[in-house]
Subunit: 192 residues, 2 copies
């Protein structure tokens, strides 16, 4: 998506260890207007899939998911990273490794919010090694719901997450795929 | 706000320790349509305040804040709970105690996203003892920005946070204020 690529080039910053900082518009400060344009594009891409629920993971996925959900007219469910007093009862659980934060944690969703009747679109801000997306996919599959696919804002195409997940037959629609970040220069993958 | 009160009565559940569970529509599964109605109401209440930024705290505040921000046409900034690789450089910092999670943590906002020119509306899902709201207010004040006020979805009026924050001259607009939760019965404060 041209508009997102241009925004990354304009406002993104490359930090040590191939960390792309997009915190001025995506995951610290949030440009809600931009999110609406992403939402519109995913709606176009998944228009015929009868999505009934948007699934994401706290924290930075939530804002995107909520704006996107408006375009589909469905609720959002966000997977939680810790067991709190507020999430009691039966949950679906899977394990996620965060390379940005350098830790492994469980993610949880209450069983009442994912049912076999659901057709789920996963939304997240980043796809790199694919651990979060894999964990979220497992929650959907465990619930018996149908996984329609995943909408990712920015995919790091030089890491293996996208290939891994697509290799399992899961449809992944990333609106910007970065094939290379070298010497402060970002190269995007050509997409239709 | 009648509609929110009715939704709490219909779908809220009271758990041990005066925990109100609203995770079917507010902070695990999210009813985005409802959030839009809350956003419309806060827009009415803060219409004349020339809000330039919505500030919230991860995680459950983010979805509400993003939907609300659409009504004001401004960006969201969410305070982060941990220092990660993605939030480098100068930050405003304050300390928050979470009674739900039973821990104390720092919250951070990059200095570049709160400036003296900003007029900030804080948005959050809950107000109980007021620690999160106090921490967020401190970030705004430290930045030199103007704190326009706070929009809270559900205030626990039987705890002292609301009185504490209002006592400091900060405008707090809670769309539902619960004065009592006893024997599974919820009593709301009458508001205009």
């Amino acid at each position: 998506m041209k508009l997102l690529e241009e925004r990354i080039l304009k406002d993104g910053k490359i930090k040590e260890g191939n960390v792309l900082k997009v915190d001025s518009f995506l995951n610290h400060q949030i440009d809600v207007e931009l999110l609406n344009l992403l939402g519109k594009e995913w709606k176009r891409l998944f228009e015929k899939d009868n999505v009934t629920k948007i699934l994401t993971i706290e924290a930075s996925g939530i804002g995107i998911a909520c704006i996107v959900a408006q375009h589909f007219g469905v609720p959002v469910v966000f997977a939680k990273k810790t067991q709190t007093k507020n999430i009691a009862g039966d949950t679906y659980k899977s394990r996620v490794e965060s390379f940005t934060h350098g830790k492994v944690y469980d993610i949880l969703v209450s069983k009442e919010f994912l049912t076999p009747e659901d057709r789920v679109l996963i939304i997240d801000d980043f796809l790199a090694k694919g651990s979060a997306l894999e964990g979220l996919s497992k929650l959907v599959i465990d619930s018996g719901a149908t996984l329609v696919g995943a909408g990712i804002a920015i995919e790091k195409g030089f890491q293996n997450g996208g290939a891994l997940i697509r290799g399992r037959g899961i449809r992944v629609e990333s609106l910007a795929i970065i094939d290379e970040m070298a010497d402060g220069k970002i190269t995007f993958r050509k997409q239709n």
